[in-house]
Subunit: 102 residues, 2 copies
């Protein structure tokens, strides 16, 4: 079944929108990537410095490939200094529900 | 923009699959509900007792309506004794990305 990640990022105070914009720009190519089923960038309602990124891919290899481009490395390098630490990455195994199929 | 929730549930040891099955059964009507854009039930990879449910709705009122049915109350009553406590509900404000549009 599909490969899913839930990512939590905490930004330095006042830098959240900047990182959200970077994440959206970085993910723009996913629109044309059929292996990307979901890429949802959200601002936490209860914390002004927290971003959640929800990813769903047809398989882990497709996700790794999408993260390994030179363009993606550039965005990661821009975003990292704006974060308080490493993103927290929660890997989950989808069981079912209603979601875009591959 | 859409209304999104990320829910974390911790089950009593050995009861996770039972709760996943309940969540999938409870969410079956969402397949025919155009206000539900995403309902993804997943098992955490790093903890044998944790479930993540990712919801995306056209708006908060649609989500509240879907949660307020008698059938849903029945599923909640069945699931609650299998959890270690209240589900952790993270409300987020979607900024964009690739996701099913309403």
């Amino acid at each position: 079944m599909a490969y899913a990640l839930i990512n939590k990022m905490t930004t330095n105070p006042g830098r959240r929108q900047e990182v959200i914009d970077l994440m959206l720009e970085a993910g723009a190519p996913f629109d044309d990537d059929p292996a990307c089923l979901l890429y949802l960038v959200s601002a936490a309602s209860d914390d002004p410095d927290v971003i959640w990124v929800q990813d769903l891919w047809t398989d882990e290899a497709a996700h790794v490939a999408a993260m390994s481009t030179e363009e993606m490395s550039g965005y990661v390098k821009q975003a990292m200094p704006l974060l308080t630490g490493m993103p927290e990455q929660i890997e989950v195994q989808p069981s079912g529900g209603k979601y875009p199929a591959g």
